[in-house]
């Protein structure tokens, strides 16, 4: 029985007391007093390199500082894309509660930081206005279904949920930044019709979508989603910042290109896909992609060859590798640079229904932000349209590479330094800098 015998009799778990004893003398990097304290009115540095203990919550600290009107800067490429935030009580409290590492800066320290930035491929960007954030997600979606929702909640960045009625009703204009939950804009409920036939969650999803289509007076769900896609495109043209992951990227492109052609299977709209659908797609309407070919088999939850990994097609499925973030000139292209701020240059890939974007189907004006070197696909792309921008990141959940339906949700408190999630949060702060700095 070894030494376990006494556990039962003394109540067992007394480890808490031992931990309390060990606590004496311990020192945490993010705690007040652990860095040099600045003078009143001075700035704190939030390092975003390996010294940071909670990168994700650091974005929330910066967002909150901007929201409160404090002078906040994003130091692009400086120690992993660090922030300068006001050294005030609110920031100290927030960083202590969140476990975000901060370093006090005196005037000399600040000068040194600015000098380093001036002499290197770095830039300082003032964050002026906290973006109003919306997430396009169905009312029945669990927060754990979507990486962006999880990231925003974890980082304490406020957002509003919008769905088809709000989009069709023209309410997107009230938001600076819009993220698309992994929605299927072809209106086929991710083509899970056969794979997950009988699953209650799928039945609920189909029923809710059909009810929304009826409520908004559309003939069927594919027709509704095409109209939503058009509104999303208009949102970008009018100056909105659109960010999408997973299925939303590819299906938004297909829905836009399929404005005048039926690309939905019979189970979705009662009629089979137009036999000549491929040839009838109008790619001039799409934002990022062109010349893609549709997957015609309704039983395979794959939409087209825009996705390079084809995770749901066993015959074509490609293994996961790693993707590499591009280096941009921070002084010339601060916008692209913002989107790739990270403490890691190479990040393990992760699957989604749409995992990647084949190079062949990209439009010439697309900007590739991250790629898998040597592979025929890229991971992370960005582009302008009208007065706004769109950004696509393939994959579903950066910390759940094999993501399966029904898998346990990701607990971000176990991944506070996730480089993949940082890419999502870069996008949220992106619109905060637009007035002075964005040149794209």
């Amino acid at each position: 029985m070894r030494r376990r015998g006494f556990l039962g009799v003394l109540g067992g778990a007394l480890g808490w007391l031992a931990a309390g004893v060990r606590a004496a003398g311990a020192r945490l990097p993010g705690a007040p007093g652990s860095g040099r304290r600045g003078q009143a009115g001075s700035l704190l540095l939030v390092p975003m390199d390996e010294a940071q203990t909670n990168h994700l919550k650091a974005y929330g600290v910066a967002y909150d500082a901007v929201k409160r009107g404090g002078h906040t800067e994003w130091l692009l490429n400086y120690r992993g894309g660090s922030f300068l935030v006001p050294d005030d009580g609110a920031v100290r409290r927030a960083t202590t509660l969140a476990g975000v590492t901060v370093e006090g800066l005196d005037d000399g320290g600040l000068l040194s930081v600015r000098g380093t930035i001036e002499q290197n491929n770095m830039e300082q960007v003032v964050l002026e206005r906290a973006p109003r954030v919306a997430i396009y997600a169905p009312p029945f979606a669990q927060p754990w279904d979507d990486a962006v929702t999880m990231a925003l909640q974890y980082a304490d960045i406020p957002f509003t949920r919008v769905w088809d009625p709000e989009v069709i009703g023209g309410e997107l204009g009230g938001y600076d930044w819009l993220h698309l939950h992994h929605e299927d804009f072809t209106g086929q409920d991710s083509k899970f019709y056969l794979t997950y036939a009988g699953a209650p969650w799928l039945a609920d999803m189909v029923q809710a979508d059909q009810a929304t289509a009826r409520q908004l007076r559309f003939a069927n769900v594919p027709a509704l989603k095409k109209a939503v896609a058009e509104r999303l495109r208009a949102y970008v043209e009018n100056g909105g910042f659109l960010f999408a992951m997973c299925t939303a990227t590819e299906t938004l492109e297909l829905a836009l290109a399929a404005h005048d052609v039926d690309i939905a299977a019979a189970f979705a709209d009662g009629t089979p896909m137009d036999p000549d659908a491929d040839a009838k797609l109008d790619w001039s309407r799409a934002m990022a992609c062109q010349n893609a070919h549709l997957e015609r088999n309704p039983a395979i939850p794959v939409f087209s060859d825009i996705d390079g990994h084809q995770v749901n097609n066993p015959a074509l499925r490609q293994p996961l590798g790693a993707f590499e973030l591009f280096n941009f000139s921070a002084k010339i292209d601060p916008a692209y640079t913002m989107l790739v701020q990270c403490h890691r240059q190479v990040i393990p890939d992760f699957y989604g229904v749409t995992t990647s974007f084949t190079r062949r189907t990209l439009k010439p004006a697309d900007v590739v932000l991250a790629e898998e070197p040597g592979a025929p696909w890229v991971k992370y792309i960005h582009g302008d349209l009208g007065r706004g921008t769109w950004t696509y990141l393939g994959g579903h959940d950066p910390e759940d590479p094999q993501h399966q339906i029904g898998a346990p949700p990701t607990d971000l408190s176990l991944h506070p330094t996730s480089p993949g999630y940082r890419l999502i949060l870069n996008n949220v702060l992106f619109p905060a800098a637009r007035k002075r700095e964005l040149k794209t």
Partner: protein, 575 residues
């Protein structure tokens, strides 16, 4: 590594073909194991050039080609192997699989047709095609392959596992059970796959499955044994055992294998019914096994009976073994040890001590000491501290020193107890036990007394299982001790109050420690515990405020990372 891979053909031409092939194969396996798939592919290819029909190299090349995306290469080597030996089924399978994976369905179908033509009596090509179709989710294709095989080979059980998987995918559980019954009758070795395939069946389908498997007729025996296995997995161990016992194979090795597999599996399950089923199966097995093996099986049966709560049955099995000086020494020793443990567990450390004394000669020294420690804990649970001490008087091991430490603490000899526990070490044994020792040493340091019988008496109450009384007894001791000992003892009292079901009393004590002793070493742990108490009674806002207060007040505490995680959970920002 790439250079090594390129050099492979140059080096290998210098060796005789077979030796070169074996060398390359060893290199390939080694590189694959290390994750150098490109290099491994080159060496597998070199091995196949030397021995085109080597199945290990062929399958290795298929594996790594799949991951490196060089499937075309595998196809070329497979075709070469087939050209040299048309009966090479390994190569035939690789050719078909890789062509399918490349999306060249028409070429794959042609390769399949050639395979069938090469040996029209072999159903393997159909099986391969059915399995590929199943993996791709093409159920109609899989079904068509099975049906064609059945037409050609005139057997209802041909490709039964594949048809069963098709039917499971379609939700046809009853018919799938029929296919699996046919499969296990024809090929008993697929029983594990059958159980794996049918176990996920929904509740409403299970009766149909069992009826199909247990119906009389051909295959009733294997079908019922499969049903028993399924019932075990569905938490119906008693029913499973009744079914299995009624349908055991004729006496012989198969009967023993069936009983052993059932008992071993039931033993790993939780619950008294599963343990009893295991115990009865082991007992039956012990009756038919050769005498040498039967002793260990009988002891395992007794352990299972004890785990099921039937000490009498356990003793019935063990007593003859323990009393038989001619029995296998290891088996007899195990039987005596289990009997002594049973006595301790039954609250009879005196009886256990007597048996240990009388059977001492049959036990090794370390077993005697381990049993002595069990008996000591048994005495402590009865409050008999002196008897506990006597039980380990001759034990000089580190584990014995730890027990001696606990005994001294319970006597109120805090300095002696502290020294023994500290010597036993904070790192030895299981981590929970080590943490318990460290916590106790810290408590005794905080109390700072050499002797304190009232504290020993309070802790002894906890040892005896009366946590609520221990909590009540500790509070006045804490008030009397004062100083750093007071918050430490109050925190222990709170812990005991929680264990004793007095949540309100515990919460009041945690709060007292947090408010009156905010700088004490136990304050962070107490504040965290207070937050948890608030959360347990549904006061999430209070819990959140308490966690925030704890983090802000003790930012350097080692408990802060945990508090931050709990804060996120209470706020609903993580699952």
């Amino acid at each position: 590594m790439r250079a090594r891979a390129r050099l492979a053909p140059l080096l290998l031409v210098l060796l005789p073909a077979r030796a070169a092939g074996q060398t390359a194969l060893a290199q390939a396996l080694n590189l694959e194991q290390q994750g150098f798939l490109g290099g491994a592919a080159a060496f597998y290819a070199a091995a196949l050039r030397a021995e085109p029909n080597n199945p290990i190299a062929m399958l290795g090349l298929e594996r790594v080609s799949q991951q490196t995306g060089w499937r075309d290469s595998a196809v070329a080597y497979a075709e070469r192997a087939i050209a040299l030996d048309s009966t090479d089924n390994t190569a035939r399978g690789v050719e078909v699989r890789q062509l399918r994976a490349l999306g060249r369905d028409s070429l794959a179908a042609a390769a399949l047709a050639r395979w069938r033509a090469a040996d029209p009596r072999d159903p393997l090509p159909y099986r391969e095609w059915a399995q590929l179709s199943l993996a791709a989710g093409r159920l109609d294709e899989a079904r068509a392959a099975v049906e064609r095989a059945r037409e050609q080979f005139h057997g209802a059980a041909v490709l039964a596992p594949e048809m069963a998987r098709v039917l499971v995918a379609e939700g046809e559980w009853r018919r799938a059970a029929g296919e699996w019954r046919a499969a296990v009758t024809a090929e008993p070795q697929v029983a594990g796959a059958a159980a794996f395939g049918l176990r996920p069946a929904p509740l409403e389908a299970r009766d149909d499955i069992l009826a199909t498997l247990t119906a009389p007729g051909t295959g009733a025996g294997p079908g019922r044994r499969l049903a028993a296995d399924l019932l075990l997995g569905w938490d119906e161990a008693a029913r499973a055992w009744v079914l299995l016992r009624s349908e055991l194979p004729p006496p012989g090795p198969l009967e023993m294998d069936v009983l052993r597999a059932f008992a071993d599996r039931a033993r790993t399950l939780e619950g008294a019914a599963a343990q009893r089923a295991a115990a009865e199966a082991y007992e039956l097995l012990a009756g038919i096994e050769p005498p040498g093996a039967a002793v260990a099986t009988r002891v395992e049966s007794a352990r299972a009976y004890a785990a099921a709560g039937d000490a009498a049955a356990a003793r019935r099995l063990l007593r003859p073994l323990a009393a038989d000086p001619s029995a296998d020494p290891a088996g007899r020793s195990a039987a005596i040890a289990v009997m002594i443990e049973l006595a301790v567990r039954a609250g009879d450390p005196g009886g256990a001590a007597r048996q240990l004394a009388s059977d001492s000669a049959a036990l090794t020294g370390s077993t005697r000491e381990a049993l002595g420690r069990r008996i000591a804990f048994g005495w402590l649970r009865l409050g008999e501290v002196d008897s506990a001490g006597a039980s380990i008087a001759a034990d000089s091991s580190l584990d014995g020193l730890e027990v001696r430490g606990w005994i001294e603490v319970c006597r109120g000899n805090l300095a002696a107890g502290r020294e023994a526990l500290a010597t036993a070490g904070a790192a030895g044994g299981e981590s929970a036990a080590a943490a318990e020792r460290a916590a106790t040493v810290a408590l005794l340091d905080a109390v700072g007394r050499d002797t304190l019988p009232a504290l020993g008496a309070a802790l002894l109450l906890a040892v005896r299982g009366d946590s609520a009384a221990a909590a009540r007894a500790l509070v006045p001791v804490a008030r009397r001790v004062g100083g750093a000992g007071e918050p430490a003892l109050l925190a222990w009292a709170a812990r005991f109050a929680t264990a004793g079901g007095d949540a309100a009393g515990a919460e009041a004590l945690w709060r007292e420690v947090a408010e009156r002793f905010p700088t004490s070493s136990v304050a962070p742990a107490s504040e965290l515990a207070l937050a948890r108490a608030l959360e347990r009674r549904g006061d999430l806002r209070g819990a959140q405020a308490q966690l925030e207060a704890m983090i802000l007040a003790h930012p350097q505490s080692a408990l802060v990372p945990q508090a931050r995680r709990e804060l996120d959970r209470v706020r609903g920002v993580v699952p």
